[in-house]
């Protein structure tokens, strides 16, 4: 502490800024919010003025502007002035101690989740909970962890990740329907096929970096989706593929028949057994992904990925084969995407190109970015908050009462995802979990604070 803190609040300036913000908001929102276009009975487009909503939103913008300049900014300035450089490291160490206790708890909870749900909601009522919350979230965690290899570790922004998810899903669907292979044979096969596609699409983009790489991967993702739509003979286009064989419990199907799972184990038939089985399958896949990535980080290849993320030119100067490094990141990320895709197809029993749009890619990128690129715990937290949050919103009846029966939280989900991506970039560009666990260290393992990691510059 060398200087006294001078966090003065400039009230006239804050008011002036708020007024400007209000005027700009009014100008932009006047047509978009103030005048809604609706179709009348004669199928003509008419305007439906909404002055109250407009006023509320402008007032909201003005309030945000005032709060920002009167409260948040002085506070942030004061904290930045008070906090010496070591403090963020100490905070990170505190968090690491907390994580040491919290992570086993979280894992235990994940393993016992179906038991809790069944204990609370009974056998039949719990299907929806395990499916919507458990499996849904775990699929996104898996996708986030897979993309994390490419974006978080190797620093290659991939906007077409959903293509590998689609490759996995379609490989399972087509091979299972045509040749009748089982889920356990096709799961690794789908991963291998997706990894193959990862290398195939990785080759042309090797020379690109940063923004251009992101745009080209986006183009590849869209091309694959458009081919899935238009190659009707193979994929049946928009109609999608239905009747995909469901996974069995080591050969025992989850049906109500005599040789079904319930009958064999002497239980009363219920769809919940399949859901629970699927939950544990995807949980194991997630843990496998997390374990493999953690180990890979310690291998030379993982260190090469992170070196590549930090500085590609330095990497090359040190003799790291950037081609091999990039391709392996693409392939391994794609492989996990393929696993997730084949699981998705097996769980749904139906797939169509609608599930593999750019928005899906953007959502996975958002999960990785919000969680803190490179942090596995961060990815898991972001997926739980974002996916679980909207699932909860879907169930809250009072929201329907407030916003009307048309209220659909999935629309707001993407709205919030987009907003969160912008806000995270502004305030915490390193994501929610900003610290790194170093893989190479002298004497003792020290955490690296966000301030000292330059990730993502590569």
């Amino acid at each position: 502490m060398t200087q006294p803190v001078q966090a003065r609040v400039d009230v006239p300036r804050a008011i002036r800024d708020a007024v400007i913000a209000g005027l700009v908001a009014f100008g932009i929102l006047l047509p978009l919010i103030g005048l809604q276009t609706t179709v009348n009975i004669r199928n003509e487009l008419v305007l439906n003025p909404r002055p109250v909503l407009l006023a509320v939103m402008v007032a909201f913008v003005v309030t945000i502007s005032l709060v920002m300049s009167l409260v948040v900014q002085p506070l942030a300035a004061r904290r930045a002035a008070i906090r010496p450089d070591g403090a963020s490291v100490r905070a990170a160490q505190r968090r690491a101690r907390f994580a040491k206790i919290a992570i086993p708890f979280a894992l235990g909870f994940a393993f016992l989740f179906p038991v809790f749900v069944i204990a609370l909601g009974g056998l039949s009522g719990s299907v929806k909970w395990i499916d919507n919350f458990g499996i849904q979230i775990l699929i996104y965690i898996m996708l986030g962890l897979g993309l994390n290899v490419v974006v978080g570790l190797a620093g290659l922004l991939d906007l077409g990740y959903v293509a590998f998810y689609a490759v996995g899903a379609y490989s399972y669907a087509l091979l299972a329907k045509t040749f009748g292979f089982s889920f356990w044979v096709l799961l690794p096969l789908a991963g291998i096929l997706a990894a193959f596609w990862g290398i195939l699409l990785g080759f042309p983009v090797l020379r690109l970096r940063g923004d251009y790489l992101a745009i080209v991967t986006l183009a590849f993702g869209e091309i694959i989706r458009l081919v899935l739509i238009n190659w009707v003979d193979l994929t049946s286009g928009y109609a999608g593929i239905s009747g995909i064989p469901r996974p069995t419990f080591f050969g025992i199907p989850f049906t109500a028949n005599d040789d079904g799972f319930a009958a064999v184990f002497g239980l009363e038939f219920s769809p919940v057994y399949r859901t629970i089985f699927l939950y544990y399958v995807v949980l194991c896949l997630v843990l496998l992904t997390a374990f493999v990535t953690t180990r890979l980080r310690r291998l030379p290849i993982g260190r090469a990925w992170e070196a590549l993320r930090e500085d590609e030119i330095a990497c090359r100067a040190l003799g790291i084969d950037t081609t091999k490094t990039k391709l392996s990141a693409f392939a391994i990320g794609a492989m996990f995407g393929g696993f997730a895709g084949s699981f998705f197809a097996a769980r749904q029993g139906f797939i169509s190109p609608e599930s593999f749009t750019f928005m899906e890619s953007a959502m996975i990128v958002a999960i990785v970015v919000l969680g803190g690129m490179g942090s596995q715990v961060g990815v898991a937290i972001a997926a739980i908050v974002m996916i679980g949050g909207t699932e909860i919103m879907r169930d809250l009846d009072f929201l329907k009462a407030v916003f009307g029966s048309q209220f659909d939280p999935t629309q707001y989900r993407m709205l919030l995802f987009g907003l969160a991506m912008v806000l995270i970039m502004i305030w915490k560009p390193r994501g929610l979990i900003a610290t790194r666990d170093p893989t190479a260290f002298l004497h003792e393992r020290k955490l690296i604070a966000a301030k000292f990691v330059k990730e993502g510059r590569g």
Partner: protein
């Protein structure tokens, strides 16, 4: 050259080619018009001329959007991913303004309507783009390399879903504004037409490009803009307000996108919240093809992409026309990253 008052029939190749334009998610497969046209024979020349006219019109729209990409990339080196959605918002602003003018104020003059819609659209879209730059991009200068792109992607998702929530997910259509066409060639079963709509689009594009060229080449504002593009630090030392110049760059790009949005609405008569994505990518392809950072390159790239798209739809396969556009994007970025008129980028440590 005879003039006729006929509404553009929906079965003309123009209408068919453009029907599925910019509908990435709600798209529906449409039978390729190429097959029916070629089956009739002896109209090769006419088909070619018609596609040329349609392609130039589409290319004008792409070119205007591409300028926004290329200018922003030139000055701060970021891909403004939200630009396509700014274009979509401008089409919505135009739609609402047209409705206000026709239903509330009762103005029926096409010229006056178009003028007011253009001005209002440019003003509001500029304001939006200014606000976006201020809120989402400016705080990120000096952050890590991918931060502005990620923020722009977030902004793009936000704008798309904001319009969906605010205005509803359905396609919004208005009755056609100008329906007259000029018949250029008439060979019994196939007529080549140039609609007044297309003429207006060509005229406005040419006029605005001239004004824009004057602004960049001859005014002090344009000089400041070019100076910041070459070396922002040096420009700042010489007294150029870099922040303001960057803001103005965003505003100019948005104003041109607003013109494109207005013409898009006038041409197709329909707009939906998802219409920003694919035209945005195609315009970015145009900017890259022309050489990113180069203004004439953006216009030439736009025209080329427009022509490639229409000819591809007419002669090959309309289902795969977006695949063609995305492939061009990938191919150009991989093999010709400096584009047709751009300077090759040299990376220094």
């Amino acid at each position: 050259m005879s003039r006729r008052r006929v509404a553009l029939p929906p079965s003309t190749p123009a209408a068919k080619t453009f029907e599925s334009f910019g509908r990435p998610h709600g798209g529906r497969p449409i039978g390729g018009p190429g097959a029916t046209l070629r089956g009739e024979g002896r109209v090769d020349m006419e088909v070619f001329v018609q596609q040329l006219i349609n392609g130039i019109t589409l290319g004008s729209i792409y070119g205007l959007i591409a300028i926004g990409y290329t200018m922003v990339f030139g000055i701060i080196g970021m891909v403004n991913f939200a630009h396509g959605d700014v274009f979509m918002v401008s089409a919505f602003v135009a739609l609402i303004t047209v409705l206000v003018l026709s239903t509330v104020l009762g103005i029926s003059s096409i010229f006056l309507t178009l003028l007011i819609v253009l001005i209002v659209g440019m003003l509001i879209t500029s304001l939006l783009s200014w606000a976006i730059e201020r809120v989402a991009y400016r705080p990120l200068r000096g952050s890590f390399r991918l931060a502005p792109l990620i923020s722009a992607i977030g902004m793009s998702i936000f704008l798309m879903n904001f319009v969906q929530v605010a205005q509803g997910p359905r396609n919004k259509s208005i009755p056609p504004m100008v329906t007259d066409v000029i018949v250029l060639m008439d060979r019994g079963n196939y007529t080549v037409t140039l609609s007044y709509r297309q003429l207006i689009i060509w005229g406005i594009t040419a006029l605005l490009l001239a004004a824009f060229w004057y602004l960049v080449a001859k005014t002090s504002l344009g000089r400041a803009q070019r100076a910041c593009e070459q070396d922002p630090k040096m420009a700042a030392l010489l007294g150029v307000n870099v922040d303001r110049t960057i803001s103005i760059t965003f505003v100019i790009g948005a104003a041109l996108a607003a013109v494109a949005g207005t013409m898009y609405l006038m041409y197709y008569g329909v707009v939906s919240f998802a219409d920003g994505f694919v035209p945005g990518i195609k315009a970015f392809t145009a900017a890259v093809l022309g050489g990113i950072g180069s203004l004439p390159g953006a216009v030439i790239g736009g025209l080329l992409i427009g022509l490639i798209e229409t000819f591809w739809s007419a002669y090959f396969s309309i289902d795969y026309k977006d695949v063609a556009a995305f492939s061009i994007l990938a191919i150009v970025l991989i093999f010709l990253p400096q584009g047709l008129l751009g300077r090759p980028e040299v990376e220094k440590v």
